[in-house]
Each structure stands twice: as structure tokens, then as C-alpha cells.
């Protein structure tokens, strides 16, 4: 990533740790971008809602994505107009997806905090990634497990629950494969 003396900014976590990052990385957060652009913040931005552990993860995400965008842009400009440009950016898209998938392999508490941080700091890509990871987590859970997970008040009676389940029975019934088509490949 270009470290050619680009402007740096300091982010301070709620527990007092300081992180110096290039401004362009910090601006992945639209919240921080507003502060820098509209309010003319000087050198340091305290983030009282994000602790150091989460902030370092967020910065890691922003650094990776800024670097990936810069690499794609520079490759596109050097091979502009050739078919090679399209095929060159594709592998790095895959690499980034793989990196993202690894990035969200964290414990539930960290994931939860990352969602809150991504929301608070307004980082759309990170919010999308973390919320998708959470959605994947609840996909396989039963109604009872989900209620416990989100601490939702059990406001429906077993009869009501049964009726709703009956109305949506089709979603529970998956039609199984009758034969493996792969055999024809």
C-alpha cells in the first residue's frame, strides 16, 4: 500500500489505546470521514464506543480493503483496454472474498461488537460482511434456539406457534434429491 507520506490520523479506542493509520484507511468509515471533512479534526479522533480489540480488527479490515482497491486500480490503469485487465482483477476478487471469510471467523461476542462498530462507524462493506456472517449463524437454528440467542420474549403461545408453522410448512419441507445428477457429468 502506498506509504508515501500520506496524511496519517490517530484513532483512540475507548480504553485509551492509540492507533495511527493513513487517513485514507480511516476514511473507510463514513463517520470518521465526516468528522475529518466537515469538522476539520486535527490529529486525533477518540472513539469512545469502540475498544482497542475491536478497533484493531476494524482497522485491519479497512487496511485490507483499501489496499485491494488500490491494487485493482493500478492494475487496471497499466493494462487498460486489454482483456487481460478483466482476468487480472478476478483472482484478487476471489482472494479478498477468502480473506473476508476468514476475517469473520471469530467468536460470537467479537462478531456482535464488530456489527455494532461497523454500524457506528458507518462502514458499509464491513456491516454487510458481519451481518451476513450472523445471518449464516441463525440459518440453521431452531425457533427455540433463536429466541434464546436474541433474548426475544416468548410472546406467542405454543398453539399460535404451531399455527404459524403450519401456515409456512412448505418452507420446512425440502424436497430431497431423488438421484445424483453429478453421475452424468
Amino acid at each position: 500500500m502506498a506509504d508515501n507520506g500520506g496524511k496519517k490520523i490517530t484513532l483512540k479506542s475507548s480504553d485509551g489505546e492509540e492507533f495511527e493509520v493513513p487517513e485514507v484507511v480511516a476514511m473507510e468509515s463514513q463517520t470518521i470521514r465526516h468528522v475529518i471533512e466537515d469538522v476539520c479534526a486535527k490529529n486525533s479522533i477518540p472513539l469512545l464506543n469502540v475498544n482497542s480489540k475491536i478497533l484493531s480488527k476494524v482497522i485491519e479490515y479497512c487496511k485490507k480493503h483499501v489496499a485491494a482497491a488500490e491494487a485493482a486500480a493500478s492494475k487496471a490503469s497499466t493494462e487498460e483496454g486489454t482483456a487481460a485487465a478483466a482476468s487480472v482483477t478476478k483472482p484478487s476478487d476471489e482472494d479478498l472474498k477468502t480473506w473476508d471469510a476468514e476475517f469473520v471467523k471469530v467468536d460470537k461476542g467479537t462478531l456482535f461488537n464488530l456489527i455494532l462498530a461497523a454500524n457506528y462507524l458507518h462502514i458499509p462493506g464491513l456491516l454487510d460482511l458481519t451481518c451476513q456472517a450472523a445471518a449464516d449463524m441463525i440459518k440453521g437454528k431452531s425457533a427455540k434456539e433463536i429466541r434464546k440467542f436474541f433474548n426475544l420474549k416468548n410472546c406467542i403461545s405454543p398453539e399460535e406457534e404451531e399455527e404459524i408453522r403450519r401456515e409456512n410448512q412448505w418452507a420446512f419441507e425440502e424436497e430431497k434429491r431423488t438421484r445424483a445428477f453429478d453421475a452424468y457429468a
Binding site: 456489527i115 454487510d128 451481518c131 445471518a135 436474541f150 426475544l152 410472546c155 406467542i156 408453522r165 409456512n168
Partner: protein, 416 residues
């Protein structure tokens, strides 16, 4: 606004606790772990920063700086973030979450949820199949989930018989109600539907449904008659915003070589034999044009398939003698008006899909996916134009036998 020295604290004006339990309490520079049992919340008033908090109005007004790595933390998730997560659960699986609680049961009608859902990345390609004989069934295959779902469609009138197509989550059906030809648009997930008014020339015609990219409005284009009568009638377009059909240009008398049409980039394409080429209907102008394009030599079938953006494909077999046949895909070079071959179906797939060279098959596609279905065998083969890969579509054989199939995108925007 200026003159705050070196540091600029980002602090919300107030803190709000969530749900019935008290949220954890923030401590500025305090110890790492905070006990959730603390009842007080801290209200901070930044020095002269009242206007600056516009930066934070879009952020949640929560102060959760220190949270214990505890399973119960998810209970503190604010409503809008709960919706962000739910919107990313595969649409069909959302129906399984309805028994969880009253709120989640009605979430599919919640406008906040619907708008969030329309913003998240699409679920992935799905196939919708429909048939009336021997027994009626509407099924949707979710390719990302590799699962077929039997969708209840008792909400549809009995006269619904033919599947026209699908666009942006909406599905178009036609049928004869007594002697009247009728057209119906529905959303199978929300079970909402609407019968369109009769066309000016209300006969069984080639129809195509096109949903607009922005908003919930859609158009239905009625081209030539299916009965094959040589008398041509004006093309009509239904616009959901006006709720009416409008008359447009009549297609010039040509010999159509197939009744297949493809819609891409606001244009409807049909193949013609005499003169050789494509007839193109422009929705914006309401006029038909002719593009002289030579077809590939020895082409046996000619399926037109629309791809992503402006790409248009031609699919079919080449070669008269069965032993030398191959299935090929061409792409239209719009500038030069020629078909350029982009791929051939590998022989093993070809032999498996069409046991006999005279085997009947259907071909359709969208978004750079081309699907082949073999009527008698109930098999489906998928070609991904971008990935250049071939794969079989799994599923109970009966789903693809003698049924009408189209690509489908699950959406919750209900019919306007």
C-alpha cells in the same frame, strides 16, 4: 466549530438502554470489564459540540464500549441491526423464522424490512417451475441452497395455465377464463396477485414481463399472436404505473423462424428468416426495426437468450448428421451485427442431455446464465457464461419434466 484543540471526542448526546435488561455501562478510561448489573448510564454533554453530533444521528445512540464476551450480548442488538441480519437470511428460510415471535412473523410485511431487503445482495439464481397436469404444482429451486421448495399457490385462480416468465420477483401467468384470455401478475412469496385489464386485441399472444430496475413498476409487452395468423396486430405495452395497455407499432410482416424472444437493454429481439436477421422492438420509441444478421451455418435451433447488461446470446445445435452435432453458444456483436461463437457444450454433456439427436429441449436464461432442460428426461444443465462452467441442476426428475420453467429472483416487494 473550530478551536477544540488536538482532540475531538465523538460522543453521542445520550445513551439509551436496550430491551428490558440494562445494557453495559461505559467507563471513560476505566477498567476493562464492566459488570452488566450496573444500573446507571452516563450522559455526557460535550463542550460546545451540540451541532457536531449530526455525525452521530445515523449511528445508534448506544454506549457499549465494553462488552463481556457473553452469549447473551445478542439480546442487546438494536432493532435496525436485527433487521439487517434478517434481511441476509435466504428468503425461503425466512419463512422458517416466522414462528419465533410475533414481530418476526409479521416482519415480511414490515416496510423497513422490505426496503432493507431490497438493498442487500441478491440471493442467487433460482428456477421456478409450474405445471397443471397431472396435478398442479409450483416449485422453486434455490441454486445457492440446492433445495427445491413447493410453493403453495392456492391463491391463484383456477384458469391460470401458462407460465410466461419472471422478472424482478414478479411472475406472469396467462390462461383462458371461460373464453377470455387473461394475464395475471403475482409475487409467489407474498402471495399477492393482480389480473391485468384486457388488451386492445385480446388474444393469446407472445408476452414478456419486464420489471424496472428502480422501483416496483413493471411492463408487459405483447407481440405477435400465438395462433400464427398471418394478420399482424399492433404491439401493445402494459405499464403498471398507468394500469393500461397502450398501442404501438405493428411488426412488419416477416417470416419468424421461432416464437422465442429475448429482452435485453430495453429491446425485444425476435429472429426472422425472411429477411434473415433480427426484428427489434424498442420500448422507448415503441417502434420496430430490422437488423440484418446472418445466422451461423447449419444452425438447427435458434434460441435467443438475454445476458447481463446488453449481451444477447444465440443457442442451438449445429450439424445435420446426428453424429457430428454440437451445441453452441454465440454472442451478438452489436457493432458488427454478427454472431461470434463463445463456447460449445462438451460432448459428454451433450450426449447425456440429448440421448437422441431429435430429443426436444428448451433453452432460456438471464444474467449470464443459460439453462438447458430436456423434456423427456427431466434433466437440467446450466452454463455460467462468466465462469465458463457447465453443471447439472439437481432435483427430483419430475420437476423438470413437461413443465414450464424460468429463472426467478426471490423478492418481497409486494405488488403495487
Amino acid at each position: 466549530m473550530h478551536g477544540f484543540g488536538e482532540t475531538f471526542p465523538l460522543v453521542p448526546r445520550s445513551s439509551v438502554s436496550l430491551s428490558d435488561e440494562m445494557g453495559p455501562v461505559p467507563r471513560l478510561g476505566g477498567p476493562r470489564t464492566i459488570s452488566p448489573s450496573h444500573q446507571k448510564t452516563i450522559k455526557t454533554k460535550p463542550r460546545g459540540l451540540d451541532e457536531e453530533t449530526n455525525v452521530l444521528t445515523t449511528a445508534n445512540k448506544i454506549l457499549i464500549s465494553e462488552i463481556q464476551l457473553d452469549e447473551s450480548v445478542w439480546a442487546h442488538l438494536p432493532d435496525d441491526l436485527q433487521i439487517e441480519i434478517l434481511a441476509r437470511v435466504p428468503p425461503f428460510l425466512l419463512f422458517r423464522l416466522r414462528p419465533v415471535c410475533k414481530r418476526w412473523n409479521s416482519i415480511l410485511n414490515d416496510s423497513g424490512f422490505i426496503s432493507t431487503h431490497s438493498r442487500v445482495p441478491v440471493h442467487g439464481p433460482c428456477l421456478l417451475t409450474f405445471w397443471r397436469n397431472p396435478s398442479s404444482q409450483l416449485s422453486i429451486l434455490s441454486m445457492p441452497l440446492k433445495t427445491w421448495f413447493k410453493i403453495p399457490f392456492g391463491f391463484l385462480p383456477d384458469w391460470v395455465f401458462w407460465l410466461v416468465g419472471s422478472s424482478g420477483g414478479l411472475v406472469c401467468f396467462t390462461g383462458f377464463d371461460e373464453l377470455t384470455f387473461k394475464t395475471l401478475i403475482c409475487n409467489p412469496l407474498t402471495q399477492t396477485w393482480q389480473v391485468l385489464p384486457s388488451m386492445h386485441h385480446n388474444q393469446q399472444r407472445q408476452l414478456i414481463l419486464v420489471k424496472s430496475n428502480s422501483g416496483t413498476d413493471y411492463k408487459v409487452i405483447a407481440a405477435s399472436e400465438i395462433s400464427g395468423d398471418s394478420k399482424t396486430i399492433p404491439t401493445e405495452v402494459y405499464d403498471s404505473r398507468t394500469g393500461t395497455w397502450s398501442l404501438h407499432d405493428t411488426m412488419p410482416a416477416v417470416s419468424l423462424c421461432s416464437s422465442k424472444m429475448a429482452f435485453c437493454d430495453s429491446r425485444l429481439y425476435l429472429e426472422t428468416l425472411n429477411p434473415i436477421g433480427l426484428m427489434v422492438y424498442q420500448v422507448d420509441t415503441g417502434r420496430w426495426d430490422y437488423i440484418p444478421v446472418k445466422f451461423p451455418r447449419s444452425l438447427l435451433d435458434g434460441y435467443l437468450v438475454s445476458g447481463a447488461k446488453k449481451r444477447l446470446f444465440l443457442v442451438g445445435r449445429v450439424g445435420i448428421y446426428s453424429t457430428l452435432q454440437s451445441m453452441r453458444v454465440w454472442e451478438l456483436d452489436h457493432g458488427k451485427s454478427i454472431w461470434t461463437e463463445i463456447t460449445r457444450m462438451p460432448p459428454r454433456y451433450f450426449r447425456s442431455l440429448l440421448r437422441l439427436s431429435a430429443e426436444r429441449f428448451e433453452c432460456f436464461g438471464q444474467d449470464n446464465l443459460i439453462c438447458f432442460t430436456s423434456w423427456n428426461q427431466g434433466k437440467g444443465l446450466l452454463y455460467d457464461v462468466e465462469k465458463k462452467s457447465w453443471s447439472w441442476i439437481m432435483g427430483p426428475a419430475v420437476q423438470l419434466c413437461n413443465s414450464q420453467v424460468c429463472f426467478y429472483e426471490p423478492r418481497f416487494d409486494t405488488l403495487v
